[in-house]
């Protein structure tokens, strides 16, 4: 069953002529060395219509950037098609801009030259080019800095240059890939409100904005419509309009309710896997396979979260937890996921609830904690169980890392496979399930450690 969310009927079927960019059943997979393909984006339909700011939200690695690149024509979908005003995107003369997370300014060009460059590509005459660029630089509040080089500017000012360069071509759609996440909080806030002002006052001729972010508040603050992507493979979990008037008040009831709702969507345990699309070849859905995706959390973080939760009476709202800890959701979620995977915690209605085993864990002293962790990990995490079995089975009690990496590569990209392995090593070491000899890249049994502990226990 494909999960489709509550969509606004008015938005679902806009008049065909009005749609600027329309994606039909686009999906993306990457080839793996082992003949498999990793599906990053499941078949997805999406439209960008005039007059709205569309925010794409999702956890890290859910394919937001991939989606943006397919919609701009920078990346070809593995299947499906993207249309620009009804023509296939690679035949159309499209007019879009992208604001990048890393700014992507050319450090050897001055601010003015950076802003002028896109106009030069379009063959605009020098005089007009200069005039339009200067106007744009004024508009983003950088007058006086035309001759400066990007490296002489602060991060916020650099992103202003990024905006000037994006807006100078008067794009029909302005794409942004986490434009504020490399900036400090105050600067980001400032830029956001200035952007919103340009948009609401129609100072820029842009007809639609497409914003990729993993900051929920940012999405709710800016967007007229929010799409939440799920992970493995990336797919639309929900797609809904936001009707709050601008400027929006973060403290308002409606605002926090919406933020809360999105938290719930993001933290809701996965529903049953969607039926595999009728694809030829071995497109595999990660959820149907053996290894769980290990959340990249440290055991110390898990213990800390559980202790905090116990302190709060064993149940607390995730949003409040993140807020109190001054965490981004992307930082908190892996820890929650990990605790949930180990059976220490459950998520109900956006609340984190500690389980009896979690309670015991949080109440124990460190050696007992390690033991509980070991038991829970061996019971719940296939990879750790396999490594331990292999170690026990071999006469020399050591196994090469490559062996398991190869197995992981069947299922994850090479990079993610290595990350999975790193997390497994951290967990295994903490739980004394095994030790890892980083120099030889081999797993070994923690014999020495075991003996020491045994000796200690005997003595007491």
């Amino acid at each position: 069953m494909q999960e489709t969310a509550a969509t606004n009927p008015a938005l679902e079927a806009p008049p065909a002529t009005d749609v600027i960019i329309r994606a039909e059943g686009i999906e993306k997979y990457y080839a793996q060395p082992s003949q498999n393909r990793i599906q990053v984006i499941a078949p997805t339909d999406l439209s960008i219509v005039p007059g709205e700011i569309l925010a794409l939200l999702g956890p890290s690695g859910s394919g937001k950037s991939t989606m943006l690149r397919m919609l701009t024509g920078l990346s070809t979908p593995s299947a499906g098609q993207v249309f620009w005003h009804g023509t296939p995107i690679h035949e159309a003369e499209i007019n879009v801009s992208i604001v990048f997370q890393s700014f992507a300014l050319f450090p050897w060009l001055t601010v003015l030259e950076n802003v002028e460059a896109p106009l030069q590509a379009r063959g605009v005459a020098p005089a007009e080019r200069r005039e339009r660029s200067m106007r744009m630089i004024d508009m983003v509040g950088l007058d006086g800095f035309e001759a400066a080089y990007p490296k002489e500017l602060s991060g916020g000012m650099r992103q202003r240059v990024g905006f000037a360069r994006a807006l100078v071509v008067e794009p029909e759609v302005l794409f942004m890939d986490e434009p504020f996440s490399a900036l400090d909080v105050l600067t980001a806030d400032n830029l956001r409100s200035e952007l919103l002002e340009l948009w609401t006052k129609k100072t820029m001729p842009t007809k639609a904005v497409f914003l990729v972010t993993h900051n929920i508040e940012e999405a709710v603050l800016l967007a007229d419509r929010i799409i939440v992507l799920g992970r493995n493979p990336g797919r639309i979990r929900t797609d809904f309009p936001v009707h709050l008037p601008h400027p929006r008040d973060r403290k308002a009831e409606a605002f926090t309710q919406l933020v809360d709702y999105i938290y719930k969507v993001l933290t809701r345990p996965d529903v049953a896997p969607a039926a595999a699309p009728g694809q030829p070849g071995a497109v595999r859905d990660q959820r149907q396979m053996g290894y769980q995706m290990l959340p990249h959390a440290r055991p110390g973080g898990i213990a800390g979260l559980l202790e905090l939760l116990l302190d709060r009476g064993g149940r607390d709202d995730m949003y409040r937890l993140a807020d109190d800890l001054a965490f981004e959701i992307d930082d908190l979620l892996p820890i929650v996921d990990a605790a949930q995977l180990l059976g220490f915690l459950k998520v109900e209605e956006g609340d984190a609830v500690i389980t009896p085993s979690g309670e015991e864990f949080a109440n124990s002293e460190i050696l007992r904690q390690k033991e509980l962790f070991r038991n829970a990990a061996l019971e719940n995490v296939l990879l750790l169980r396999q490594i331990r079995r292999a170690l026990d089975a071999k006469s020399d009690h050591t196994v090469r890392e490559d062996f398991f990496l190869d197995l992981l590569d069947e299922q994850f990209s090479e990079e993610e496979g290595q990350r999975q392995m790193d997390t497994a090593v951290t967990w295994g070491r903490y739980g004394e399930i095994f030790d890892f000899d980083a120099a030889r890249r081999r797993f070994v049994l923690p014999d020495a450690l075991d003996e020491e502990i045994a000796a200690g226990e005997d003595a007491s």
């Binding site: 690149r69 701009t72 024509g73 920078l74 990346s75 070809t76 995107i89 690679h90 035949e91 159309a92 003369e93 499209i94 879009v96 801009s97 992208i98 990048f100 997370q101 890393s102 992507a104 050319f106 450090p107 050897w108 060009l109 460059a117 896109p118 030069q120 590509a121 379009r122 063959g123 005459a125 020098p126 080089y149 990007p150 490296k151 002489e152 650099r158 360069r165 071509v169």
Partner: protein, 579 residues
């Protein structure tokens, strides 16, 4: 002080090409060799004038001028080649592994091995004229310069950050605009540093190649190299010193007038997003920057040319449509496949012919070659070890004393640029006087050229050890042993490897010159692969030349892959000090 690792990076580029590609490339090289030799021998019957070399000091400026012109032509040829080659390799996934394998093998071949086939080819092109030899020498200098430049440009293109590429696509840059505003600026620093290494390599080759014998014939071009060699052969110490002096003056002048301004200028292409504190200063660049005409005129002329071009380009399809970055290469037409198959067949046939040529190599010859290979291998590594042994303590001592380092480092850089070939004769005459053989002497000759790269890099490494780490070491009262093993050696490791990789390439190349020489009418030689190559050139024995070159190339490529590349990886990952 931040040093890019130009040559080392090029030697150890990550490559994914399978083994058969190397084989295929080697086959192509063999085929080319056969083609050139068989056509050249035919033309070689024609007479060729020999220009006599004067040993008067007053002709030195003229000779220097000739040599410099040769260098300049060869350098710009190399640059053009490097940019074209790197560009094609980086943007054509299908030929990329082949082209990189070709470079890998080419850069392992000593310059001198190119000499006979190149001379034959050029003489065949321009029979009975000095121009043929002129072109041959320029081409030889080119072979000493272009490979690392091409590698550098290729690696730069491959490391352009993805978002910048995406920006250039989404803003619909033409290939022209992308080249001048993204690719060239991004590669500029690598190209400048590699040019320094390249030109040093060019001088090295030039001094050796202006005079040579092949078979029974002597070839000579007026120039600094032949001046020095004639002086050596005649035992004219006065003229020899004058010649060496001229070379040093040119090298120092190039360093001051060309490289320093270029390095200072290329600072603007640094990709770091923060302004760095210490930069190379160049008075000449300041002068140019303060001159109104130099500042505005070139820009004006350039935009005259460029503006109409941009207007025209904007109308092309390329500039109206956003092209995906991950576009699949189109289907190759069957005609191309057929052509490729025919080409492969021809290559196989010619390669087989070249190998058949080898059958004149007797078993005794082969034994000699193998012994020579072992001897040269030992010598090269001895030279490397000796360089490391003295440069590590000295370089660290200098590097930890910033004031001293500021003085010594530029000097070491210049020393690395002075072609060792210019000093060979002095050493050789000394050896003859002392009655010593070339066996040990050739190690000294190799050292002459290679140790400076190591010194230069070790100093840079010692400077780069963060001062807070040094403070920690003194705070905890590290013993001398601990300081060296925990702090200094790991700190300089990446730099040391960079220097050693460069030095190892240089030492192999130098072995050819160091193991065999004509001095004062006599021939000095010792057993070694280099000597074999030299002797084969002198006697015009192509089969020996081919065999010896194949062995040297095989050894260098193997060493690079088995040792240097691994050490370099290690340096890049484990021992990288983030600053």
């Amino acid at each position: 002080m931040n040093l890019p690792h130009p040559l080392a990076r090029s030697l150890v580029t990550v490559r994914k090409g399978p083994f058969f590609i190397d084989l295929g490339v080697a086959a192509c090289a063999l085929a080319a060799f056969f083609a050139v030799v068989s056509t050249g021998v035919y033309w070689f019957q024609k007479p060729m004038p020999v220009v006599p070399i004067s040993s008067s000091v007053s002709v030195l400026p003229l000779y220097a001028f000739y040599s410099i012109v040769r260098m300049i032509i060869a350098y710009f040829l190399s640059l053009a080649f490097a940019v074209t080659y790197g560009y094609i390799a980086a943007y054509n996934a299908r030929v990329e592994p082949w082209m990189i394998a070709v470079l890998d093998i080419l850069q392992s071949i000593p310059v001198l091995s190119f000499l006979p086939p190149v001379v034959l080819a050029m003489v065949a092109l321009v029979p009975g004229h000095q121009l043929g030899i002129e072109m041959a020498v320029i081409f030889l200098i080119f072979t000493g310069q272009s490979w690392n430049l091409a590698f550098s440009f290729y690696t730069s293109l491959k490391t352009i950050p993805r978002e910048m590429l995406e920006a250039s696509r989404i803003y619909r840059y033409s290939a022209w605009q992308r080249f001048w505003q993204l690719e060239m600026p991004f590669s500029a620093i690598g190209l400048v540093w590699n040019s320094i290494v390249s030109v040093a390599g060019g001088w090295f080759a030039l001094i050796f190649c202006e005079t040579f014998t092949m078979g029974a014939r002597n070839f000579q071009l007026p120039g600094l190299g032949s001046y020095i060699q004639t002086a050596t052969n005649g035992g004219d110490v006065h003229a020899l010193l004058a010649g060496i002096g001229a070379v040093i003056v040119i090298v120092v002048a190039t360093d001051q007038q060309v490289w320093r301004p270029l390095i200072a200028w290329s600072d603007k292409f640094k990709f770091e997003q923060v302004e760095s504190a210490d930069e190379v200063k160049s008075p000449i660049l300041e002068l140019i920057r303060h001159s109104k005409i130099c500042q505005t005129l070139p820009g004006k002329i350039w935009s005259r040319i460029e503006e109409p071009l941009y207007e025209r380009l904007a109308q092309t399809r390329e500039c109206r449509v956003v092209k995906p970055l991950d576009a699949q290469a189109g289907k190759t037409s069957p005609v191309l496949y057929a052509l490729a198959a025919a080409g492969a067949l021809a290559v196989c046939w010619a390669a087989a012919q070249a190998i058949l040529m080898l059958k004149s190599v007797t078993l005794a010859d082969l034994r000699l070659l193998l012994e020579g290979a072992a001897a040269t291998f030992l010598r090269v590594n001895a030279a490397l070890l000796i360089s490391a042994a003295w440069t590590i303590p000295v370089g660290v001592a200098i590097g930890l004393n910033l004031r001293l380092a500021r003085v010594v480092q530029p000097v070491a850089q210049i020393m690395a640029s002075v072609p060792a070939t210019a000093f060979f004769p002095v050493l050789l005459i000394g050896l003859v006087k002392l009655g010593g053989g070339l066996g040990i002497g050739s190690i000294a000759l190799m050292l002459l050229g290679t140790q400076w790269y190591v010194l230069f890099n070790v100093i840079a490494g010692a400077i780069a050890i963060p001062s807070d780490l040094r403070e920690v070491a003194s705070l905890y009262h590290f013993t001398r042993w601990q300081r060296w093993t925990k702090l200094i050696l790991p700190g300089i490791f990446p730099y040391l490897i960079t220097g050693m990789v460069t030095a190892s390439g240089g030492a192999w190349n130098a072995s050819v010159m160091a193991e065999y020489s004509h001095v004062q009418g006599a021939t000095l030689q010792t057993i070694g692969l280099g000597a074999q190559i030299d002797a084969a050139t002198d006697s015009g024995s192509f089969s020996m030349l081919l065999m010896a070159t194949m062995m040297i190339s095989l050894m260098v490529v193997t060493m690079n892959r088995l040792v240097w590349r691994r050490l370099y990886r290690l340096a890049e990952t484990r021992f990288k000090l983030e600053s």
